[in-house]
Amino acid sequence: MTITVLLNGAKRTDEVQADTTLFDYLRSHGCLSVKCGCETSNCGLCTVHLDGKPVLSCSVPALRADGHTITTLEGLQEEAAEFGAFLADEGAEQCGYCSPGFIMSVLAMAGELKNPTVEDIQAYLAGNLCRCSGYQGQLRAIQKYLQAKGGAKR
């Protein structure tokens, strides 16, 4: 079966199987930032943007992405680097395994929520698990990033 997608700004057409997940499709096409952390649709590591919305690529069939726009961390390197600097400043990058999915969620949140409170941020990111469990550093980094962008409440 054939799908045509706009992947990180480039249109491409590929053959996929009926049960290929978007996760496997993206990994097999060089998007190695997309990682699997749980196999239970729970951890948020495989988060990508489908038409601008964060989704779990491990749960979306690749065929459902046909005709849609997919963005992974590889397609948002400038934005990711900008936020990554705030993470590093807070020592919150830690082992880094969850960072790609986490950053994709933060960038989606920055676009979706206006002036989020701490509770809003925590609720939005509840689906991104960090095995290092350094959530406080991540939270500080997000607040400082959003303040720098002009939209976060203390």
Partner: protein
């Protein structure tokens, strides 16, 4: 993870229904739960091309398409206007935003999950489901019907004026619920729903908190890795009392 040989994006509901008559086939909602199983499907039926991802504000009801995502339910201004924060409350603890952008209303309702927050909330409202062959049936009847291979099209939620409240208990924030509770009121008559017992949600009706509390004690509860039956029975009273107090505050 499931496996499948074919994938058909249905062109119309008749085709979806026809394909779904074969036991080896299945309708794919968000796929979040299906992916946890290891079933081998012949054909996955995708309803995403049928415009069922809409929340329609009709004259006396709100129509929720089967492919509406849980995130849509959570953030819909139409639902907030008509039913208060019920839908936001019943969805906000379900894993995370990226999960709720995938999981669908149809997946939750058609599967009649015992742990479903959505079913608990919907049963507190006056809801009907629209099926391809079965027509329109009350949700309360649908959830007790033997499972057939009909296709859920929409959930129709009557605008009744009342705004039910929602409570749930979880061992950790994004876990499946240990118990869920919704409470609505219509013309002095109260409707309480207790779900995740861990069996499917059950509706109780009464005219006072005491009468509802007495009924919660009689409900069957089960034990699983999240909680024991006795704990759930106790928790039902706690959540119902909290919901009652919350409703009193809202009505005041």
């Amino acid at each position: 993870m499931y496996t499948a040989r074919n994938y058909v994006k249905a062109e119309n509901l008749a085709q979806a229904w026809e394909l779904n008559q074969k036991r080896a086939n299945a309708i794919l909602g968000g796929g979040c739960w299906m992916r946890l199983g290891k079933r081998r499907y012949d054909t996955l039926i995708d309803l995403s091309g049928l415009g069922l991802d809409q929340i329609e504000d009709r004259e006396d009801e709100v129509a929720l398409g089967a492919m509406v995502t849980l995130r849509q339910l959570e953030t819909s201004s139409i639902l907030e206007w008509n039913f208060g924060d019920l839908f936001a409350r019943c969805t906000q603890h379900i894993v995370g935003v990226q999960f709720r952008n995938c999981a669908t209303l149809g997946g939750s309702v058609a599967a009649r999950f015992g742990f479903s927050d959505i079913l608990t909330a919907l049963l507190a409202l006056d809801c009907r489901v629209e099926l391809v062959k079965g027509g329109i049936v009350p949700l309360e009847q649908y959830v007790t019907m033997d499972r057939d291979r009909d296709v859920l099209v929409r959930v129709l939620v009557k605008k009744a004026g009342s705004k039910p409240v929602y409570q749930s208990a979880r061992n950790s924030q994004t876990d499946l619920p240990t118990l869920t509770c919704a409470l609505g009121e219509h013309e002095g008559r109260y409707r309480a729903v207790i779900g995740a017992r861990p069996q499917m949600a059950r509706v109780l009706e009464g005219d006072s908190l005491e009468s509802l509390l007495a009924q919660t004690k009689e409900l069957p509860y089960g034990s699983n890795m999240r909680a024991g039956a006795d704990y759930r029975r106790h928790l039902a009273g706690v959540l119902l009392t909290r919901a009652w107090k919350e409703m009193e505050v809202k009505q005041a």
